[in-house]
Structures are given as structure tokens and as C-alpha cells.
């Protein structure tokens, strides 16, 4: 199974893989800040012009969603699996 070996390859070298990914992310943020490469004239709002705006949006947004959802859930929405059974 070539695919399996492919996955195992990366799992075996997890730290390196993660390192490379993080480096790429940093590069992405840097590139975003260069006006020549990334043309932000289509952006509609002021915040969008800040460098790495969307990166922060993604990161914080995800965190907020996780925290709020879990809070909502533990406030009483989540319940045992056999709640509806008689």
C-alpha cells in the first residue's frame, strides 16, 4: 500500500514534518505582508489590510468556536445517549 507507507513515512518523522509546516506558515504570513505579491485592493474593510489578519482570524476564531461550543454543550445541551429512550 503505497499510500499507507506514505503516511507512515510522515508519522515516523513527526517533529520534522511539524517543523516544516510551521515554517511554511510563517512564510505565508510574511508573503501576505508584501503588497507586491498579494494585492489587497479588493479588500472591503480596513482590518483586512493588516498583515496576517486572516491568520489571526482563523486562529482566534477557531479557539472561540471551540470554547463557546463546549461551554454551550456543557451548560446542559449535551446529555446521556439514552435520554429519549423510555
Amino acid at each position: 500500500m503505497k499510500l499507507l507507507r506514505f503516511i507512515e513515512f510522515f508519522r515516523a518523522r513527526l517533529r520534522a514534518t511539524v517543523g516544516v509546516c510551521l515554517a511554511l506558515l510563517a512564510l505565508l504570513v510574511v508573503v501576505d505582508a508584501i503588497p507586491g505579491v498579494v494585492d489587497k485592493e479588493h479588500a472591503h474593510t480596513a482590518p483586512e489590510h493588516w498583515p496576517a489578519f486572516w491568520a489571526v482570524f482563523g486562529f482566534i476564531g477557531c479557539a472561540i468556536l471551540i470554547i463557546l461550543s463546549k461551554a454551550f454543550g456543557h451548560a446542559g445541551i449535551m446529555t446521556r445517549e439514552d435520554y429519549y429512550d423510555e
Binding site: V37, A43, E48, W54, A55, Y83
Partner: protein, 593 residues
Amino acid sequence: MSDLWLHPASALILGALLLPLIPARLKKVWLLAVPIAAFALNTIMPPGVHGQWQFLDWTLTFGRVDRLASVFGHIMSLISIVATLYGLHVKEDAQHIAAWIYAGAALGAVYAGDFLTLFLFWEMMAFSSVFLVWFRRRKESPAAGYRYLLVHMAGGVCLLAGIVLHASTPGSSFAFEAFEVSKMTPASWLVLIGFLVNGAVPPFHAWLPDAYGEGTFNGSIFLCTYTTKTAVYALCRGFAGLDLLVPLGVAMALYGVVYAVLENDSRRLLAYHIISQVGYMVAAVGLGTEMAINGACAHAFANILYKGLLFMGCGAVLHMTGQSKFTELGGLYQKMPWTFLLTLIGGLSISAFPLTAGFVAKSMIVAAGFEAHNLWAAFLLMLASVGTFLHTGLKVPYFIFFGKNHCRPETWERAAEPPWNMMTAMAISAFLCLFVGCYTPYLYDLLPHPVHYHPYTAYHLSETLQMLLFTAVSFFLFLKKLEPEPTISLDLDWPYRKGGRMFLWLAQKPVQFADNCLGEFYRVGGIAGLMGSARLAGWFDGRVIDGVVDGLAEAVRKLGQRLRPVQRGAVQENLTLAFALGAALLIVLWLVW
């Protein structure tokens, strides 16, 4: 209507009805040929109005073909091929029949030119799709299907009431055209509610996770496609530009995301996610601009592709392992790597990752939001995209295929790659997701309005990549908090599930008791009275009449003795004799008069 025109639905419905007659050797061929025929019919159909039929006082239009209808018709008939292929090995004919009638009814609804035809197919969809829930045959299935049916009937009666009201107001026609969204009447509200129920718009949404999580592994592919997208089509046609739909759609998008984060069952998670995705489409319909409508159609098109793919992936896991809950799965990449990859493609596509269908479709809606200066909507929809990637792009693949291995030994034993037809179906869908994403004219040429949107700008790429990849970072950091918990989430089906039980108790105890009491009343009122008056008459007869009649009585008695042998005590004889005597009497009287 001069040229011969065949409704694409006719291929599916006829194919369904003829399926039991096909010999077993040719069944697989038939199973593939019929949806292909439907797709072919759909593609060659010329625009215009076809298929009109006179029913009592009204003219029904079965084939109103224009660009808006065609884009939906195209993807619906296309996916019927893939979905049938996915379930090719299912031996129970009835499942295929139900699925095809359902798909055919959806096509019928999309091409319906008038409200009555729309309603006909709307009901047909409800009645055929419920079988796809029941076919799973778990002990929860009958009840889940029953609730599904009742909710859809409720939506259907609202729709019907709205149609009747609308058709009865003077000056309105029967044709299915846009309503005046600036002047909503009770009729248009009722029709809207009917559409919203099928579209699983909160507060009418709870049926969707309930039923779609319960469907068969292959039936769910059909289920996730047709009902909601037909509703989206109907909203596009009828209520484009209705302002209410924007906040409703955005709320829907976030609502679905929140519940998806909490959900333990992978297919229910995907079902909640449908609510989220349809929220984008509903919001787009609300925005109403050409780009927004294009976006809604494009997103519906793409959504069918990648949602189908995701359901296929999780369905494959379900089919092979018998499990769909995260707390029972994990680490499956070792046994099902290709399923993992294809599911991942689906997840990336739904998250609007570059090079996938979602990137060129979903973002059109957000762009339309920005263009219309509806900034709240646009940003909140972007937030929903974050959530989408979180639970469908990351959580689903991670907790099924990686993560902690919660699999029980027998689950692990059973896990393996699914049969060839399922893999092929998934591969085709994945290919289409990537194809549509890379070669935009395929989709854009089908859209109802001219497209002025260019997804592959540097800014858009940067924005999307940043957002999604940093979401992933957040995901991995919060991994502990996201561990699945074996719970269910209460939703707005609570009122009618609990309420339904109470209603049934009411029907069984107090109401039945009252009715039974009433039934015994005849004994008290009727018979007692009868017996009383009979006794009275008896006394009267005995005392008063007897005296006079005694002489006569003796003569009569003698006559009676002569006649007795005639009577044998058989009721029918007595009755017939009575009637015959009566008839004879009447004839005599008639002759005399």
C-alpha cells in the same frame, strides 16, 4: 409541445418501477444505465416550457427549463449516478426503487412550472425518502422515520395551505414564479415555511440530524442531496432578495457549526453540517444579487459533490466497521488509507481549500456579501468557514482515522477498504471536486447569471490559506478539549418528541375513556327507555285491548296454527318474506290507486 420531450425524472421513476422485473444477471447493468439515462436526458433538454397537462381546471407544467432549474437538474442527475454506483452491491431492490423515486421526484420539483406540480413532487419526495430512513432497520429506525414523515407532512400542509391561499387571491397565477418579497402576505409566509422546513432552516431543522444519522449507509447519500437542495432551489426561485433570509442563513451557518463541534456521531455531525452549509445558500438567496444567486447555485452544486463524498467516506466506515461514533473509532488509517484520503479531499473541499470546488463556489457567496456591503454577514460566514474546516476538515478525518484508537477488537477486525464500487464512487466525486475547483468554466458556464467573479487572485489565496491553516494550528493546540464524548445533544426536536409522547398518552387515556363512556350511553338511554316503553305498551295491551280483541284472537290463533309450518325460523327467509309481502302489498295498492 410538438417535439418529443422526456422528463429526466421519468427515466428514474420508470427505471425504479421496472427494476423488480429485471433478471438478476442484468441488474447491475440496469442500476447503472438508468441514472446515466436520466443524466443524458437532462443534458439534452432544450430550454423552454415542456410537458403541459390539463388536470381538472388547471394546466400543469412539468418541464419549465431555464438556467436556474438546469444547474440544479444537472448536478442532481449526475449525483444519482455516483450514489447508485456507491450502493451497487445492495441486493434489496426496494432500496434502489425508493432512492430513484426520491431522486426523480426532486428533479420533478426542480422543473415544475406551477405550484400544483411542485406540491405533487414535494410530497412524493417526503414519502419516498422516509423509506431510506426505515430501511436501516435498527430499533431506532421506525421512530426516526416516523418523526421525519410527520415533520415533512407538517411542512407539506403549510405549503399546500399557502398554495391554495395564493392561487385563490384574484390576480395571481398558478405559475411558480417569484413572490413579491417586499410585500409578504400570509400566503407567501406559508409557502416560505413549507420551503424552510424542507431546507432544515431553524427552528424547523431538527429532523435533519435525527433522520440523516439514521439512514442506511447508501441511502444517506441520496438523503443529503435532494431534499435540502430542492428547498434551496425553491427559495432561489420564489424568495430571492427576502431580507429575513440573510440573518436566518448566517445564524443557521453558525448554529450548525456549534452543534457539529459537540457531536459524537460522525454522520450526525455531517448532518448538522448540512444545516451550516445550507445556511450559506439561504443567506445568499437573501442577499438576492446576481452574484449571490450565482453563489447559492454554485455552492449547492459543489456541496452536493463534497457532501456526498463525505457521507460516502463515513458511510464506508460505517459499512465496514458497523460504527459511526468517534468514541468507537480511531486509528483507522492503517486499515483504510484510501478512504481516509478521499474523505480528506471532501473535507478540504467543503472548507474551500484552494484547488477544490468549495474554493470557487463558497467564496462567491462571501464575496457577494462584501459586495452588497453586508459586512456582518460576510465576516460571520467566514467564521462559519473556520468552523467548517475545524469539524469537517480536521475533526472528522482525525478522530476516525488517527487519534486515539477506541476501536474494539471486532471493529478493528472488520475494518478494511470498502468494495470497488464504493471506492470508485468516492474517487469520481473526489475527482469532480478537484476538477470543478481547477477548471472553473465547467461550473461557471452552468450558472444562471453571467459570472464576474475570479476566485484565483493572490489575495483570495492568501486569505484562505492563512485562515484555514491557522485554524489547523488552533485545532492541534486544543486537541485535548476536542476529545469526543459519548453524548447526544438536545435540540429543537425536544418539544415535539416529548410533546408527541404526551399527546399519545392523551389519546390513549382520557380521550378513549370519554369515547367509551359515550358508547355505553345507548345502554342507559336507549335500551332502558325502550324497555320502559315496551312495558307500558304491554300493560296497555293487556288491560285495554285484550278485552276487545279476545274474540278476534281465537280466530287468529286458529289461522296461525295453520300457517306455522311455513315459518322455519331462518332470518333471511323471514326478512325476504316480509319484503316480498311488502312489495306485493305495494303492487296491489298501486294497481288499485
